[in-house]
């Protein structure tokens, strides 16, 4: 495996992007995601209207992988229903766990976030990649009462 498959152009760019990086004073829900071992630390905010995520943003800091993953998540779930978002969480976690490997499906559903696929080969960085997704999962669980994905 080449490092550039992990630190691809998409990852580096998204990790530095400020597109979704801002406070959201009128958020419906905000949750903190934290990796004590490496210090990745984000706050993810969503505005929900009628079961639909009409806005999403984050603040915080962390490694390129956690920041890129968070940024990609924001781009992907904006405008989706909670149900659709939950499905994306499952697909993303499935990809990282190496359970969903079909690139066509992944690309169709996760779009650019497929760039994180190779993280599944680096156990020590998996937590960085999934941080934002687990945080979103928590938000959805609290909103809808659905259990969190394993």
């Amino acid at each position: 495996m080449d490092l550039r498959q992990i630190y691809s152009q998409i990852i580096i760019e998204n990790s530095r992007s400020n597109k979704h990086r801002n406070e959201m004073p009128d958020a419906t829900a905000t949750e903190r995601g934290y990796n004590p071992s490496c210090g990745d630390d984000i706050h993810l905010s969503v505005k929900i209207d009628n079961d639909r995520i009409v806005d999403v943003s984050f603040t915080g800091s962390g490694c390129a992988i956690s920041q890129a993953s968070t940024s990609l998540l924001c781009g992907l779930i904006k405008g989706k229903t909670l149900e659709q978002a939950k499905h994306l969480v499952e697909t993303f976690l499935g990809m990282i766990k190496g359970e969903i490997t079909d690139d066509d499906i992944l690309e169709e559903e996760l779009e650019d976030a497929i760039a994180l696929k190779n993280i599944s080969t680096m156990p020590q960085r998996v937590r960085c990649a999934v941080l934002a997704w687990r945080t979103l999962d928590l938000i959805i669980a609290k909103q809808t009462g659905t259990p969190m994905t394993e």
Partner: protein, 417 residues
């Protein structure tokens, strides 16, 4: 630089021979292990000593009514003697075996701190303490009402001795400090700190986890009250640590852990306790760990702590000089004074975790994170840092490869500085 290169070329011991004692270097590599402040590797001699104990000397120590109990007891006594001599303690009674430096520091906090401190007292620690010499004192402060205070650092990442003098007072009952920082490499003047503490009759706790592996330490010369360290940071096995305490203080203390071996008489509602050091060692003790630690000490002494310190200092100075040449690197390491073999740094615009991952890809093992020093990192204004830390089995060539790998970090992370 010339003196440094000269020392690296001629460490005064057989570096190739030393490196052949470490099995991890046989792994398909390269493995450039620069995470020695976290835990060192172990030479075969240490591993083989433990093996032999487990195969042919193993029994429950101290209760030897048979041959294997006796060999285990002797192994324990010998190891304790070796540790006592190694740090210059006047008696084996002052050597308590624990699991690690953290447990040693908890023992002091529980068995001395909780029983001797009260509201109005001050516990003085430093800004650069490891959590193990920090959170334990928070606990004692919360339980007793004593107040926790911090000696701050100078701009050169040294302990601010003026701040120390300003903060210490008659209310200071204990001064607990790291004799070598696991992040900055700073080696404060322990003798001076202890001397000042004595003026105020404050007890001193020396966290020597990062000093003992690097430099000869003598508790009698230091005249500290407590000193702690971990075996696994000095070629010994995991799971064994040491608490040195002055006998007269240990004698006055209540026990910490209760159970087998640490008692004298057990009545139904009351018990009396064993002599030092056994009073503080509850349950079956880790003789395997003890003989491993003793073998590690033998290994270090066979090379010579003075040679080890000089060579590790040369490695560190060399690495600092190389890092300083890289404009995209920020270093947190003192310019002045004694320095241990740890260097904290950051690659500008790159998160330490990414740096470590890319270095690991090149076979270079360093650590990224807060290194169990969140308060220090807040002071540094960094969420986390990278840390390279050396042992005497590292080489100049390994540092060169590390520096080269940093160039790839720059490239991959697209840093243009």
């Amino acid at each position: 630089m010339e003196a440094i290169l000269e020392k690296l070329a001629n460490p005064g011991f057989d570096l190739d021979q030393v490196r052949s004692d470490f099995a991890y270097l046989e792994l398909p590599g390269p493995i450039i292990y620069l995470d020695n402040a976290a835990t060192t590797q172990r030479p075969n001699q240490v591993i083989e000593r433990m093996d032999h104990f487990y195969r042919f000397e193993n029994g429950n120590p101290l209760r030897g009514t048979h041959r294997l109990g006796t060999t285990a007891t002797e192994a324990m006594l010998e190891s304790r003697k070796k540790v006592a001599r190694f740090i210059g303690s006047k008696s084996e009674k002052e050597i308590i075996f624990t699991r690690n430096a953290s447990e040693s520091l908890n023992l002091i906090a529980y068995a001395w701190g909780l029983n001797n401190l009260q509201a109005g007292d001050q516990i003085l620690i430093t800004r650069m303490e490891h959590h193990s010499n920090f959170v334990n004192w928070q606990f004692v402060a919360q339980k007793t009402g004593a107040k926790l205070a911090f000696i701050e650092l100078t701009d050169d990442y040294q302990l601010d001795m003026q701040d120390y003098r300003d903060k210490i007072s008659e209310r200071t009952k204990i001064v607990a400090f790291s004799a070598a920082s696991n992040v900055l490499g700073t080696i404060p003047d322990a003798a001076a700190i202890i001397c000042i503490a004595k003026e105020y009759n404050a007890l001193t706790v020396v966290d020597a986890a990062q000093l003992v592996p690097h430099t000869k330490v003598n508790v009698r010369e230091l005249d500290c009250d407590f000193l702690v360290f971990s075996g696994h940071k000095m070629l010994g096995p995991l799971g064994i640590g040491v608490l040195y305490g002055k006998a007269e203080i240990l004698l006055e203390m209540t026990p910490f852990l209760y159970g087998g071996e640490m008692i004298e008489y057990v009545e139904d509602y009351e018990s009396t306790f064993a002599q030092l050091p056994y009073k503080f060692e509850a349950g079956t003790q880790d003789v395997g760990g003890m003989v491993g630690l003793a073998a590690a000490i033998e290994y270090l002494e066979a090379i010579g702590l003075d040679k080890i310190a000089a060579y590790e200092t040369a490695l560190t100075d060399y690495c600092v000089a190389k890092l300083e040449e890289l404009p995209y690197i920020e270093i947190y390491h003192p310019q002045q004074g004694a320095k241990g073999p740890a260097i904290a740094f950051n690659v500008k615009n790159a998160h330490p975790h990414d740096v470590a991952t890319i270095l690991d890809y090149h076979g270079v093992a360093i650590r990224a994170g807060h290194h169990c020093t969140q308060p220090l990192h807040r002071y540094l204004g960094q969420n986390s840092t990278n840390r390279a830390s050396f042992a005497f089995y590292n080489t100049k060539e390994e540092i060169d490869l590390f520096i080269e790998a940093l160039e790839d970090v720059k490239k991959i992370m697209q840093i243009d500085i």
